[in-house]
């Protein structure tokens, strides 16, 4: 019997409901408002009253309005049809919402209609089912039963979209029957499993279970159908030079990008979403600008992914809960994103989750906490802020699946600290749990030095693509050059020794030709690791060289000229004749100025 309740109070997006029967924490219910049903989630239970956050505007709700509980937690739909979708935080497909709303009126199609929810996976598409499991074999949750071709996962160049034993199945089952190869929708049965007596918790009703391609999983619970967690060792190639060379990200690792507004967080995330060498990218626009999402929406389908030769959108899922969309679904959006990522990880794929911005997610928690009148912590954030952030990043990782293959979820989150000051609760809680810190600085962005990743403050625990010692040598020049630069502001150029001055110029040189990368230039926006290695070794020559300059004017002039040639070289297509010629010119220039 389903539980029902009645509204006792309405305050913003929070309602208090008096219920009969049993309810669970985080259970989903619907508040009935005229002909609309508004989705809500239980966030606190006290006696026969529970507080629910409503995933929509609460206007027109009245005291004594009915609430129907579903008995289920907020869940995501998993199965074929996820790729290339654009969802809101609750996994409603946005294009379909617009189409559905268009049935009301032309103008209605432009807006997100209250109480309108649609299934996350298309029900009408028939997928070309290829069974692979053996009849009679013993399987557990997450084991493969077969596959269907979906987009780039066509089963030829890349393995197909694997259909798995639903993650919610506990214990061991035997495969009783499999549907023959053919076309099926996500809701048609493709396998029948039989619980093994004594080894399955559902053995009490030891009946066979029918399995469909579609399965549901509560978004706030991590999927754990793997045999072990592995250390993140391999470097994830982002083709952003500062990141790969200086502050690398590992496959299955975590990193954060805090920065004040206008420092280029979103552009950096977009560049990463485009060029990172992973199988699937899940981009969660959480409480950010709609305009930026639209950019991705319209541009990605046009961009060809060099790896697959197909549209970049085919490897991308966008979760888009922009700042003006309901706060409660913003809170859910990052969980939806990471749940979809875990699903693809279970197929043995490398998935990158980009959350922009985790501060907006934290603020959603703060708004909710305020409405619940909980005792506030620092800056009115709830006391559980840190543990929630930690638990979210812990869902990243590289795992060995039960068939021996590996899959991974890498999480990169931006942080938007108030006033650009990193000494605030969200940044600090995040720094404690991530493996890489790409701090963006206002000073760099003001000087148009993009990406504005601060080369001195940032850090990473992961292995870079170039030997650490060489990278450290370059970094120490950056550090020293910065010191000289600071000193020069006090003692002036004349008070600086020739040697220090050259160090300063070298640091500026690294910055100008290597750290700075133009995200809007076709050739410079992406630098494959191979090219980074060549660039780095040419640059290194200028860093270690003992130059014979007569005076500072000559030194400055030399580096200006070298910088110009290097920037021109960066514009040349990789492995072209011009590229080789540019390299030779640079090496010659450096050699001729050396003592």
């Amino acid at each position: 019997m389903t539980t029902t309740g009645k509204i006792a109070a309405v305050n913003g997006n929070m309602i208090t409901v008096v219920f009969d029967g049993a309810v669970a924490q985080n259970e989903v219910g619907y508040a009935v408002c005229g002909d609309k049903r508004l989705m809500a989630e239980i966030v606190r239970v006290r006696g026969t009253r529970c507080d629910m956050q409503v995933f929509d505007a609460t206007s027109d709700l009245m005291v004594d309005d009915k609430v129907e509980f579903t008995g289920e937690m907020l869940a995501a739909e998993l199965g074929p049809g996820l790729l290339a979708q654009v969802y809101d935080g609750l996994q409603n497909p946005l294009a379909e919402l617009a189409e559905e709303a268009g049935k009301i009126s032309r103008d209605a199609a432009y807006f997100l209609q209250r109480g309108m929810y649609l299934p996350g996976l298309p029900r009408d598409i028939k997928w070309d089912w290829h069974p692979t499991a053996e009849i009679g074999s013993r399987v557990m949750a997450g084991d493969f039963l077969g596959w269907v071709p979906e987009g780039i996962f066509d089963g030829e160049k890349l393995p197909g979209h694997k259909i798995m034993v639903p993650f919610s199945f506990r214990g061991v089952y035997t495969v009783k029957s499999l549907a023959p190869a053919g076309a099926y929708t996500v809701t048609e049965t493709i396998a029948v499993l039989e619980p093994v007596a004594g080894e399955s918790s559902s053995a009490q009703n030891a009946q066979s279970v029918e399995v469909q391609m579609l399965q549901r999983w509560p978004v706030k619970v991590p999927i754990k159908c793997f045999s072990e967690r592995l250390a993140p060792e391999e470097t994830l190639e982002t083709t952003v030079r500062t990141i790969d060379t200086f502050f690398p990200v590992a496959v299955g690792g975590t990193y954060c990008v805090p920065g004040p507004f206008g420092a280029g967080k979103t552009v950096l995330q977009q560049t990463t979403a485009r060029y990172a060498k992973v199988d699937v990218v899940i981009s969660a626009a959480c409480g950010e600008r709609a305009g930026e999402v639209v950019e991705t929406l319209k541009e990605f389908p046009e961009i060809v992914d060099p790896k697959t030769g197909q549209s970049l959108m085919k490897r991308t899922i966008i979760i888009c809960n922009t700042s003006s969309m309901p706060v409660a679904s913003r809170e859910a959006s990052v969980y939806t994103a990471v749940t979809l990522a875990e699903y693809f990880r279970q197929m043995g794929l490398d998935v990158l989750v980009l959350a922009d911005s985790t501060s907006r997610w934290a603020q959603a928690m703060r708004e909710l906490s305020g409405r619940l009148e909980e005792i506030p912590g620092e800056e009115a954030f709830p006391a559980y802020l840190e543990s929630r952030i930690a638990a979210f990043y812990e869902r990243a990782g590289r795992v060995r699946l039960r068939d021996g293959s590996t899959g991974s979820v890498t999480i990169g989150g931006t942080v938007s600290p108030a006033g650009g000051n990193f000494d605030e609760p969200v940044t600090q809680a995040t720094l404690k749990v991530v493996g890489g810190f790409h701090g963006l600085s206002r000073a760099r962005s003001d000087a148009r030095r993009y990406p504005a990743i601060d080369p001195l403050d940032s850090w990473s625990h992961y292995a870079p693509v170039i030997e650490r010692a060489r990278v450290e040598a370059a970094r120490s020049i950056l550090r020293k050059g910065n010191e000289v630069g600071q000193m020069m502001k006090v003692v002036g150029e004349e008070g600086t020794s020739q040697e220090d001055f050259v160090t300063y110029l070298k640091a500026e040189f690294i910055d100008a030709v290597y750290l700075q990368q133009n995200a809007f230039s076709d050739s410079d926006a992406t630098t494959p690791v191979e090219r980074q290695r060549i660039m780095f070794s040419v640059m290194e020559k200028a860093l270690v060289a003992a130059f014979a300059f007569a005076d500072k004017v000559e030194a400055r002039h030399f580096f200006m000229d070298l910088r110009q040639s290097f920037i021109d070289w960066n514009d040349k297509p990789f492995n072209s004749d011009e590229f080789a010629a540019g390299k030779a010119t640079l090496e010659e220039k450096i050699a001729s100025a050396t003592k």
Partner: protein, 433 residues
């Protein structure tokens, strides 16, 4: 059946908020409060069992416990019609220009968010003929952009100038916490240029009730949205959003909400965002472009209001000393349009700003009494040239002329190889080859 329910007893009054016992009340609906203080509209902001909390638009001052409260059964609506053009109203849509009340299609305010899938990529540049905007930070149709300024800067003049020079179909002005003479001046500026006929104003002056201040952006944007759906390009000017945030703070504190940062409510970001995100280019209809003023108390950009705003809007203009500062000022959408203007646009923009940054450093060195190198001397001359001929707000030239001027300023002060411009472009555009 619930319409026209009338109650005569108010249990509690605090700030602009009244609480009474009533039945069958909808969350968010509007009521009419008639008391010794006069008649005002009010909105339901909380339901708790039989207790209904109302926010009275005209404030609770003078409202007596025996006031007559009539629930209207529907949310706040603004009458929409073309007759709104050329007129001025208060935050609760009462004419403030002596003209008649408008009777139009009642349109609810604070409607749901636009579906991101129905937006189109902004790609139309708004030409303002101000080089610091057109060349360095191009404004784009459907952009939301605040002007950050400290009190006393001529921000309303800049706002008016952009409004007059930008070619929009309709202008909606939302004034919050305005001085009455500022309102009159703005109005006469629009009148003189003939733009008043396409303008609707919703003005809250500092003397008006606080709650009406909070209503101004919603009312302005609801009207703008209606015009945009009719296919019009609408420019919305909101001044000053800091007054709006302060009004929200005042109300939140009287409501005993837990403040988050410097007394502002925890949902300040969401509140600001839901207004700014109304900026849109509709797929198949018109557009809304929002230019707002955010005054920075103490010229501090880390103050919660400018700080949260910066995270929401697509860039910001810093107005300092009567000039648009090149540092910090940013139009996030400029990349969408400046690739289609002239091939040298981006390069000139980047090169000039980088050199101007170096000029600033040199000025600092100079003020500390250091010897100036030849390079420093060049930078100093360049900086002065740039500030005088490009940055000054009185410069009023189209983008193409501004680009030519940029090359001229560079060539007057530097050698071709010194400006960090790829040789290919420099060869083509450098004055004198």
């Amino acid at each position: 059946m619930f319409n026209n329910r009338i109650y005569h007893k108010i249990d509690a009054l605090s700030g602009s908020v009244a609480t009474l016992r009533a039945e069958g009340v909808k969350y968010g609906e509007i009521a009419e409060v008639e008391s010794r203080a006069g008649t005002s509209l009010a909105q339901v902001i909380k339901l708790d069992g039989p207790n209904v909390t109302l926010q009275i638009f005209a404030g609770a001052r003078g409202v007596d416990t025996a006031a007559k409260v009539r629930f209207l059964g529907e949310p706040m609506k603004v009458p929409f019609s073309d007759a709104l053009l050329g007129r001025a109203f208060s935050g609760s849509c009462v004419p403030r220009d002596g003209g008649p009340q408008i009777h139009g299609t009642p349109s609810p305010i604070g409607q749901p968010s636009v579906n991101p899938a129905k937006r189109i990529m902004p790609n139309r540049m708004v030409r303002t003929n101000i080089p610091m905007i057109d060349l360095f930070n191009s404004l784009v149709v459907s952009q939301k952009l605040p002007i950050f300024a400290k009190a006393g800067e001529p921000y309303n003049d800049l706002l008016a100038r952009i409004a007059l020079q930008a070619n929009s179909d309709v202008i909606v002005i939302g004034g919050m916490g305005m001085k009455h003479d500022e309102y009159l001046r703005l109005r006469s500026m629009l009148d003189e240029s003939g733009a008043l006929a396409k303008t609707t104003m919703f003005i809250h002056t500092a003397a008006d009730p606080t709650v009406e201040c909070v209503l101004v952006p919603d009312v302005s944007l609801a009207v703008a949205e209606k015009f945009a759906l009719e296919g019009k390009d609408v420019l919305v000017l909101l001044t000053d959003m800091t007054s709006f945030a302060d009004a929200m703070k005042e109300i939140a504190i009287t409501m005993e909400q837990i403040p988050s940062n410097r007394g502002y409510p925890g949902d300040l970001y969401s509140q600001l965002a839901s207004r700014y995100e109304k900026a849109v280019d509709f797929d198949g209809a018109g557009s809304i472009t929002i230019l707002a003023v955010t005054t920075m108390p103490g010229d501090d950009v880390t103050h919660p209001v400018p700080d949260n705003t910066g995270y929401i809007t697509e860039g910001q203009f810093y107005l300092r000393g009567g000039r648009i500062e090149p540092f910090g000022s940013l139009s996030r959408l400029k990349q969408q349009v400046n690739k289609n203007t002239r091939e040298d646009h981006r390069t000139v923009m980047d090169a000039m700003i980088k050199l101007y940054a170096q000029f600033k450093e040199t000025v600092e060195k100079q003020s500390m009494g250091f010897k100036m190198s030849d390079w420093d001397e060049k930078l100093l001359k360049y900086g002065e040239d740039f500030e005088k001929n490009m940055m000054d707000l009185s410069v009023n030239i189209p983008l193409e002329e501004a680009l030519d001027l940029g090359w001229k300023i560079l060539a007057d002060n530097f050698e071709k190889g010194e400006v960090g411009i790829p040789s290919k472009l420099a060869d083509k555009f450098w004055p004198g080859g």
